[in-house]
Amino acid sequence: MSAPRYRLVIAGELGPRYASAFDGMTVRAHDGETEITGPIIDPSHLHGLLERVASLGLTLHSLTPLETENGESDPQPHTPTAWITDPNHSIHRNLEGS
């Protein structure tokens, strides 16, 4: 089974140099925002990605799970909120602030 896909939206349009910061994901800038889409295999992958966002000084506008390519939703849906509701977890705060 392929990993569930997600979309992160970042404030501001990012140039091509940022592509290498988000390996394996598609980076697309338009209308004053940047969309980063791609598979996120597990919570620690997500955590790492959000840390990248923070260490590059980027502001996260939203994080959304996407439906799989064939249009069906993931047969075993990973609810992103289940990963991020641990109150001791910094990701939670990153999202709360957005």
Binding site: I10, A11, G12, E13, L14, G15, R17, Y18, S20, A21, D23, A29, D31, G32, T34, A54, S55, L56, G57, L58, T59, N88, H89, S90, R93, N94
Partner: protein
């Protein structure tokens, strides 16, 4: 810490960084931080680029009092590394102030909180005001490190305050501090530049900009300091800065992206190249840059950059070590591109290795994906890490290496298993490394040293102590043989391990002989855990065999030494308390006997069933029979028997249990059947004991490793059996019926 084994501190982590020229003195913010005098904990909490470190550095420079500065990084997830650096810094405030904490950190298994307490005592002794700055607190993620920092803040003496910079809410319990006014927070909204401050910056950089443009700049960057400093760097070389700001404001590009482009484009190609290539270095000296770039003029380039570019930070007063501002470093690395980084990092690893910077060279090699070099460096330094107390850090690297590579370096899985055992990691983690070590030993017998053999066997002996006493004896014997064959440094520890296994197996005479060998070695006091266990074994065996005076002397020596060497709260001293308890019975001091036995039993408790704990329960039951506290004795015996039933080979414990049971029956017959109430079960009695302490039911559950619901059930049953209607009532009834333990003696 074993003599001769220690990992040094990284100087640039604890030196006060210099403030770069061009940094604005922001009196508005300095006053906010000043206002926190008397507040224990000040947190400067904002995303990257908000000037957190700069603010704290400026504040420190203007303070009359002493400052301890510590730059945290991910390796501080090992609390021993973290506190070794802080204790070293405190020691430099005055000789002896951090020495006890440093000594404590070297004791394997000692809770790091004990070292923290010692360090707080050092600060009290210092007496004068001191500020402790924890820069980049967000880099630390481990519960053990964060817990130890919280512990320190809770116990901070009045002459000290802690200030931290962090990108995310620190995962330490700030809510309680906030509630009692012991917390001050400075956040992004305060740190953002006002238009006035931006104008001040622009003017100080000699840039001529209209008021309108300054306002536009602040609006476009939202006052983000990194954005404004980047803008200043760019605008000061423009002929028409107002025009530049207008173009910038009209663009939808990300602030940092846009400005980095502008700044990098304006640089001379050689300077740009220098910045990009050195961006992979966390901390660097001119020599390291020369080595990585293959040039010889890095000192001059760095000196020039330090004058003109506010994103280069000199980490110490002598300007030996530098780093880039975190964000600027990240942006440079993006520009450098991934494919170019590994070769640069490999060169950095090689240079650090040549210069004895072990940790740094391992980190660079790991970042370059060069697992082979990481393995080699660990093989060269494993004893420094393991015996120097940096066990977690070492284990983290071992676990990072792929198993195939571990196989080719047998001493790594061996030392890794030893480390995991010392850290009381789950048995399956230890087993996994033991299995790799076993395979490595078969495949590379010529690389397998007596030291590897001894640490593997002693780890196995300790592991199987959880249930198979006979096998533990065998493994411990092999460990002793290996230590004799060529790992003398391990002798005291493995002898203690063998003596303990022999005690549980029932061979008291040989156990005594081996324990004596351990304590008579001149290096015994240098191995505090092995020494304390051996002394305790001698106390216990002499007491059992009727040599009361000598038993008491061994026990007192063990307890005295343990207290001196920070082991008073560790399981290692349990045997000495049990031995002392038996000696006390022989001389009729029954109250003292029960106190000692209880302390010995408490120290042996653990989430997993262990032979040591079952044994301690039996000694406690025996003591309580002698004291005619028969209900409590029956409950201790029942708990011990429950544990024993789980062990494949409990050695002599079954025989001891039978004797205690017999004594109990006899005592009950003599006492007649005098049960006035339905006797509470063993589990209920444990809960009863906790009810006295005033713990909440949730805390009782946590302490006894049972669920909240189980606590509730037991409490309900206790109330029924004691005919009580409240906690106080139940405690009073239990007291009257003699169901409660004596309070434990302190220490």
């Amino acid at each position: 810490m074993q003599p001769g084994y220690s990992i040094g501190v990284i100087e640039s982590k604890i030196s006060l960084p210099r403030v770069q020229p061009g940094m604005l003195r922001r009196s508005r913010l300095l006053e906010i931080v000043d206002g926190g005098a008397g507040v224990a904990f000040t947190v400067v909490n904002a995303p990257v680029g908000y000037g957190k470190t700069t603010l704290l550095r400026l504040w420190c420079i203007e303070r009359p009092e002493a400052v301890i500065w510590m730059t945290l990084d991910a390796a501080d997830d090992d609390p021993v590394r973290l506190w070794a650096h802080l204790a070293t810094a405190v020691e430099r405030l005055g000789e002896g102030l951090g020495a006890r904490a440093l000594a404590c950190l070297g004791v394997r298994g000692a809770p790091v909180e004990t070292a923290v307490d010692e360090l707080m005592n050092g600060l009290v002794a210092y007496g004068r005001p001191v500020a402790i700055v924890l820069d980049d607190l967000h880099a630390v993620g481990s519960e053990r490190s964060l817990g130890s920092i919280a512990h320190a803040i809770e116990r901070l003496p009045g002459n000290a305050r802690v200030l931290a910079s962090t990108r995310s809410e620190p995962a330490i319990s700030v809510a309680r501090l906030r509630a009692r006014g012991a917390l001050m927070e400075v956040r992004a909204r305060e740190l953002a530049f006002t238009v006035d401050e931006a104008r001040e910056l622009i003017v100080s950089e000699g840039i001529e900009l209209s008021g309108e443009s300054v306002a536009l700049l602040v609006e476009r960057t939202e006052g983000w300091p990194a954005g404004l400093y980047l803008a200043a760097l760019w605008l000061r070389d423009l002929d028409d800065p107002d025009e530049g700001v207008r173009a910038f404001a009209g663009s939808a590009r990300h602030v940092a992206d846009y400005l980095t482009d502008e700044v990098l484009t304006a640089l001379a190609p050689q300077t740009k190249d220098f910045l990009l290539c050195t961006s992979v270095l966390g901390r660097f000296t001119p020599e390291l840059c020369d080595a990585v770039l293959g040039r010889e003029d890095s000192a001059a380039v760095l000196a020039e950059l330090a004058r003109s570019n506010m994103f280069l930070v000199a980490l110490d007063a002598r300007a030996e070590w530098y780093r880039y501002h975190h964000l600027f470093g990240e942006l440079l690395q993006l520009e450098l591109g991934r494919e170019n980084a590994p070769v640069l990092r490999r060169r950095a690893a090689a240079w650090c290795r040549e210069h004895g910077l072990v940790e740094e060279s391992i980190e660079y090699a790991a970042a370059a994906g060069d697992a082979e070099t990481v393995a080699e460096l660990l093989v060269e330094n494993d004893r420094e890490f393991v015996w120097g107390g940096r066990i977690e850090q070492f284990l983290g690297w071992v676990r990072w290496l792929p198993p195939e590579l571990l196989l080719g370096h047998p001493s790594l899985p061996a030392a890794g298993a030893f480390a995991a055992g010392m850290l009381a990691r789950p048995a399956v983690d230890v087993q996994q490394l033991l299995a790799i070590a076993e395979q490595a030993r078969r495949e590379w017998p010529q690389l397998w040293s007596p030291y590897d053999e001894a640490v593997v066997e002693v780890t196995r002996a300790a592991l199987i102590e959880g249930g198979n006493v006979g096998a533990a004896v065998e493994h411990a014997r092999r460990a002793v043989a290996a230590a004799r064959a060529g790992a003398d440094v391990l002798s005291v520890g493995v002898l203690a391990s063998l003596a303990q296994a022999l005690l549980f197996a029932g061979d008291l005479d040989e156990a005594r002989r081996i324990a004596l060998q351990a304590v008579e070695r001149p290096d015994a006091p240098d191995v505090p855990d092995g020494y304390v266990v051996s002394l305790g074994l001698l106390a216990l065996i002499d007491a059992e065999q009727g040599r009361t005076e000598s038993a008491e002397a061994w026990a007192r020596e063990a307890i005295r030494f343990a207290r001196k060497r920070f082991q008073a709260d560790l399981w290692t001293v349990s045997l000495a308390h049990l031995g002392l308890a038996l000696a006390c019975i022989a001389t009729g001091r029954l109250d003292e006997a029960e106190r000692e036995a209880l302390r010995g039993e408490r120290l042996r408790r653990s989430p997993q069933p262990t032979v040591g704990h079952a044994h301690a329960l039996l000694v406690l039951a025996h003591v309580r029979v002698a004291r005619s506290r028969l209900e409590r004795a029956a409950s201790d015996l029942e708990r011990a028997q429950r544990l024993i039933a789980e062990f494949p080979d409990p050695g002599r414990l079954r025989a001891i249990a039978a004797t205690v049971e017999q004594d109990l029956t006899t005592a009950r017959e003599n006492a007649g059947s005098g049960h006035v109430v339905e006797a509470p079960s063993a589990a209920e009695l444990e809960v009863l004991q906790c009810l006295v302490t005033g713990l909440t039911r949730r805390e009782i559950g946590a302490q006894l490793y049972i669920s909240l619901n189980t606590v509730k059930t037991h409490t309900r049953e206790l109330y029924r059996k004691l005919d009580a209607t409240s906690r106080a009532d139940a405690v009073a009834r239990a007291e009257a019926l003699g169901l409660l333990d004596l309070t434990e003696s302190p220490g």
